[in-house]
């Protein structure tokens, strides 16, 4: 967060005139203009528009007949059993996925940061690599890998005497299956975590060793506080990812919510309303409610950061 504050106060040396300053200001605004225009065109105005849409019955099947219907979409949302089901499914998935998304990168980074590992760079590259696999490929690879008959995972489980579940077609096992797929993207959160661990001064560990701290205490009292900003960053990205989670459950559930509505997550439901039923008014309502929830959650996380994220002295 410090990076935002450390901007230039003085570009031009003091002896230069205010004409220079003004011309630089104009140049600066010219350079920013692509983003400013883009922000209005693709973020701000669409947000305002979708807020307006949410109070209408705008449907693309009859685009010229749009009525303001007040809070009707919101009333519908709060009594829509599909919204309750989709929110419940999303929450259940999030409860399985979030802890894994936080701890897997830490574990992987700790492994790759160990001095006992030979060829650390090679291992880091290979553990990162699955992140590069396109989401479409990843879904189909895992779908086959988790197949109860021909998939390798259940074949392996069978060889040690365990009957594996029918991952993709079971309401109970689909969320673990989704988590397994998302595990392949762990590398992207692992890299900054690893860099954070490598940045911890070794004197801290040596001093702790002299004081008789064991490995767990050293991790808990030194590593964790020192890398807490990265963990916070990963947490924020994970939560944002959950609020955007769509591709994998959509492809895996064939857009139908298979099995038994378990992949009919909140975003899949918005997509169905917008692009299957073309009901843009209700889809906007669903999107805005999600946006408000996302903002509240993000805000809570940023407030909580004060209590557990450590920004070291030299960083400020």
């Amino acid at each position: 967060m410090t990076a935002i504050g450390q901007s230039d106060r003085r570009f031009a040396p003091k002896h230069r005139g205010s004409g220079m300053e003004r011309s630089l200001k104009i140049w600066g605004i010219i350079f920013l203009s692509p983003w400013i225009i883009g922000f209005f065109a693709f973020t701000f105005l669409p947000m305002v528009a979708s807020l307006l849409f949410s109070f209408t019955d705008f449907n693309l099947l009859r685009p010229n007949d749009v009525q303001f219907i007040g809070w009707a979409n919101y009333n519908r949302l709060f009594s829509d059993p599909q919204v309750a089901a989709a929110s419940g499914a999303t929450l259940r998935y999030a409860l399985v996925a979030l802890p894994v998304a936080i701890f897997a990168p830490i574990g992987m980074a700790a492994l790759l940061n160990s001095h006992n590992l030979v060829l650390r760079r090679v291992y880091t590259t290979l553990f990162y690599m699955p992140y590069m696999v396109p989401v479409v490929s990843a879904v189909f690879i895992w779908q086959g890998f988790l197949n109860p008959q021909s998939g390798w995972l259940n074949q392996f489980l069978a060889s040690i005497g365990i009957t594996g579940p029918d991952w993709i077609n079971s309401v109970d096992w689909i969320y673990p299956a989704l988590v397994l797929i998302s595990l392949w993207a762990t590398g992207n959160a692992m890299l900054p975590t690893l860099a954070g661990m490598q940045g911890v001064p070794t004197e801290l560990y040596e001093a702790a060793k002299v004081d008789g701290a064991n490995a767990w205490v050293r991790f808990r009292r030194i590593t964790f506080p020192m890398i807490s900003p990265v963990i916070f960053y990963n947490l924020i990205l994970t939560v944002i990812g959950l609020f955007r989670y769509f591709d994998i459950p959509y492809i895996l559930g064939r857009g139908q919510g298979n099995p038994g509505g378990a992949t009919n997550l909140y975003n899949v439901y918005i997509y169905r309303n917008a692009f299957t039923y073309q009901d843009m008014g209700y889809a906007s309502t669903l999107a805005w409610v999600l946006f408000v929830v996302a903002m509240i959650v993000t805000l809570i996380l940023f407030v909580s950061a004060r209590f557990w994220v450590y920004y070291g002295g030299e960083r400020n």
Binding site: A3, I4, S7, D8, F11, A12, L24, W27, G28, I29, F31, L32, P34, W35, G38, F39, F42, P46, M47, F53, L111, S114, L117, L119, Y123, L126, Y128, M129, P130, M132, V133, P134, V136, S137, F140, I141, F145, S150, W152, N188, L191, P192, A195, G196, V230, Y233, I240, R244, F246, D247, R254, N267, I270, M280, A283, A287, W288, F291, A294, T298
Partner: protein, 362 residues
């Protein structure tokens, strides 16, 4: 005090052995730790193995129980083909490779390919307990089939057009915006930067419906434009990454160029960009891979135009249609991931540094 002499001697021995045992211990710790990491890595990457192996199989090879694409070796006898088995001789125990002609519960008849004139041999035992004689038999034809089925050259070209034009757009705009944020005294700059960064947190759908409606209204759905044009208006991640890098370039160089009469645009092109090439490469790869992988936007804007599909949607649609042929599904998955993974291995240093800068500085 003879005892004192012995300890004096043993200390010499003890002095060398702990060093040696420490060395051995260190080596053992490293070896076992690395072995542990290798097993984890093997498990982590095993779906790749499944994909490659299955992509090279046919339907029989998928159900025959071998991990790799294996086929039984057959022997032709009297116009029919019979599979070879490793048959232990009832008397000597020696293993013969015989072809199974008639199957029975307790005894079966075989033919010896080395000596077919001897006729059928009756063997006592259950043929189901025998190991078949197999050979490695990959089905390279699968890849030809999906290459043609997907119309891969067409799909590849579509993806390339979308990725390259979007890359140009995001590079030009993000470099300009990052330069603006890094170097110029703009009023309210910090607030603007905060707004820029906070756009990362927005859920996709909150802006999507009006954007889609707008693109539909101006007739851009069913074209590549919605996948390319928005990238000409900068992207928060790229701006952040480039700005971090630009701020580390010493200002004295800009000022020297300015004294020589260079305009800010000339400074950007001649001073900043040449020094920021590593991060510019990282941003380029990042966008290329993003565009290659992007499934959501093509799904929304191009679903009705199969001739424009990039690889993501083309592979998904193909695999939905051929879901009953797992070998084709895995072969297309391999085709779709080959290029991003190869690019990653060639440019991993620049790419991974970009990920680290974004994660650690923020």
């Amino acid at each position: 005090m003879a005892a004192t002499a012995i300890p004096a001697k043993t200390t010499v021995v003890q002095h060398t052995s702990p060093v040696l045992s420490q060395y051995v211990r260190k080596f053992l710790v490293k070896a076992s730790f690395t072995l542990f990491a290798s097993i984890l890595l093997l498990v982590f990457l095993s779906p790749f193995g499944y994909m490659v192996a299955t992509g090279l199989k046919n339907q029989q090879q998928i159900s025959n129980g071998f991990l790799l694409p294996m086929s039984p070796i057959e022997y032709e006898y009297n116009g029919a083909r019979y599979p070879l088995y490793n048959v232990p001789d009832n008397e000597t125990g020696a293993i013969h490779q015989w072809a199974l002609v008639t199957r029975g519960r307790e005894e079966s008849t075989f033919i010896d390919p080395a000596n077919p004139e001897a006729g059928e041999i009756v063997w006592q035992g259950r043929w189901r307990t025998l190991d078949p004689v197999i050979r490695f038999d990959p089905q390279w034809g699968n890849f030809i089939e999906v290459w043609q089925g997907l119309n891969f050259p067409r799909v590849f070209l579509n993806t390339l057009v979308v990725a390259v034009f979007g890359m140009i757009g995001t590079l030009v705009s993000s470099i300009a915006v990052a330069y603006g944020f890094a170097r110029f005294p703009i009023p309210g700059k910090n607030i603007l930067f905060m707004i820029l960064i906070s756009t990362i947190v927005l859920p996709t759908f909150v802006t999507l419906v009006p954007t889609y409606t707008f693109f539909a209204r101006i007739g851009w759905t069913g074209t590549w434009l919605p996948l390319i044009v928005p990238h000409f208006f900068a992207n928060a991640y790229n701006v952040f990454l480039l700005r971090q890098f630009f701020m580390k370039i010493p200002r004295e160089q800009d000022e020297a160029a300015m004294v020589d009469g260079a305009t800010p645009l000339q400074i950007l092109v001649r001073v900043i960009v040449p020094q920021a090439l590593p991060v510019i490469i990282a941003v380029s790869i990042n966008h290329f891979v993003f565009a290659w992988n992007d499934y959501f936007n093509p799904l929304i804007y191009l679903l009705g135009s199969p001739e424009l599909w990039p690889i993501s949607v083309a592979v998904q649609q193909y695999n939905y249609a051929f879901g009953t042929k797992p070998y084709l599904v895995q072969a297309t998955s391999l085709l779709a991931l080959a290029l991003p993974v190869v690019i990653f291995f060639f440019a991993q240093k620049a790419y991974m540094r970009g990920v680290v800068i974004t994660g650690v500085d923020k």
